[in-house]
Subunit: 285 residues, 2 copies
């Protein structure tokens, strides 16, 4: 049995970077270390950070000393100012791609554009970007928000990094009806699309796909769907323990991928368990 791990499986660049930073700080620092909100929505990851004494705190005012780690989504500039006021040491793990979106939004505002953010209004990343426009930007989640755009003359657009291209395209098409000038920074991160395209490609080359990630993770579910739709038998698992050796009878090639919130060590555990199953199968032959 051949086991093929997708190249873009698991954490994206930005989350991986934030996690590495947080683990390093946790090990190196003597004082208290907090992440502002969970670094990633994955219980195993949060637990792993707790092991190096990195705790989660959602309210900046409750962090009275030590180090605060800003997660990959970023925060509004007010939070950074607040942290400074409280004399906290700030480790800013905002993803560089998210930072670009923040900077673009700020520039657009300074250049006199009416700033429009294509994204989910409750998402921390979007709230952070909004902060970089002095909370002036218009957030457009879907077509029901388009009416907010009818009086703009000069629109400047940025997108949440995980936004779908289609939504951004619909937004700009709508804006073009009204405005005389439109500037768009396409800040959509290519990671999600890459992972999905790679999963689809891999699905066509194997007899079975294993997709690793939280059952509640939207992007992992989408990934499992993409594999199924390619016509290959697909198992979505959260942990290595769920692997069942009976699944692999008569299977020659297995493909493995993982959602963006799936930590590398869970992927490693799965790979280890798969090797054991493989060896057992080969002994039985």
């Amino acid at each position: 049995m051949e086991i093929i791990l997708a190249e873009h499986a698991g954490f994206c660049f930005g989350v991986n970077r934030a996690m590495d930073l947080a683990l390093k700080i946790g090990k190196d620092k003597d004082g208290k270390v907090h992440t502002l909100g969970p670094l990633i929505h994955n219980p195993q990851a949060v637990k792993k950070l707790e092991e190096v004494d990195v705790r989660v705190e959602s309210d900046i005012e409750k962090i009275t000393e030590g180090t605060v780690i800003i997660r990959s989504h970023g925060v509004p500039p007010e939070i950074l100012e607040q942290a400074e006021k409280q004399e906290l040491e700030v480790v800013n793990a905002t993803c560089p791609f998210v930072k670009t979106a923040q900077r673009n939004a700020k520039e657009l505002m300074e250049e006199g554009y009416d700033v429009v953010i294509s994204g989910d209004q409750d998402h921390p990343e979007v709230i952070a970007i909004l902060g970089y426009t002095d909370n002036q930007a218009i957030i457009v989640q879907d077509e029901s928000d388009f009416e907010k755009l009818d009086n703009l003359k000069k629109a400047g657009v940025v997108a949440q990094t995980t936004q779908s291209l289609e939504r951004l395209q619909k937004l700009t098409a709508y804006l073009l009806k009204n405005v005389s000038e439109l500037k768009v920074y396409n800040t959509i991160c290519t990671t999600t699309g890459q992972r999905q395209r790679e999963a689809a490609r891999l699905s066509k080359k194997v007899d079975m796909m294993i997709v690793i990630g939280g059952y509640n993770s939207a992007n992992t579910n989408r990934l499992a769907e993409i594999c199924s739709e390619s016509g290959v038998k697909t198992h979505h698992i959260e942990r290595a323990e769920e692997l069942n050796k009976d699944w692999f009878k008569n299977i020659k090639k297995v493909g493995i991928t993982a959602g963006a919130s799936t930590p590398n060590w869970i992927i490693k555990e799965v790979l280890k368990r798969m090797s054991e199953i493989k060896e057992k199968h080969e002994e039985n032959l």
Copy 2:
């Protein structure tokens, strides 16, 4: 019988302005006066200009003295330089909206954008705009040209003033797939849309529509189509002489509109003839 003339019938602002300028220059100047190419594609208009000694010449080098009138479409900057070299007096009747498109294209190029012009590659307006980008811009006529855009990183778009919004929207949607930055000046002139919307509105209020304009004029044909599609009996005519009084039996309200290349005096002739028909009808009652 009630006769209603559409507000936006006939010449658009820019063509009207160019025609007025040309007629005035023709009357005021003693020396030779030429338009560089026909001021408007309408034989009656060209004839009217000839009456005040304004002649058409398509090659700038053949105009050796006197005044040259630049038409509403505009010209590439090289032509203006050439005219200066030949010591001609230049009367620039480029439509202000077209001038804006030229200026926007130039600015985009200077700001480091790869300039894209959404328009017809052989149209004089597009050729002029292209000139303002040192002939560097990419012209996109339809989807078959999209492949020219695949390596752009930072795209700046302007549109031919008579471009359809839909084409501009398709172009920007395509560009968003590839580029990280996109700036669009929506230079589409609202005149065409206004005239069409008004014709559709008027069609619904009357028993018959008369659409005046050249049989070869694309925009006049489109206008006649729009009226027909509204379900009202529509006659497309070029000249007042074509009006047939029998058409108006039992007609209570007639709407009149005209294409963008239809001179005002032709519209006036039609209105005059319509009044005569109206009077005859009323005498017979």
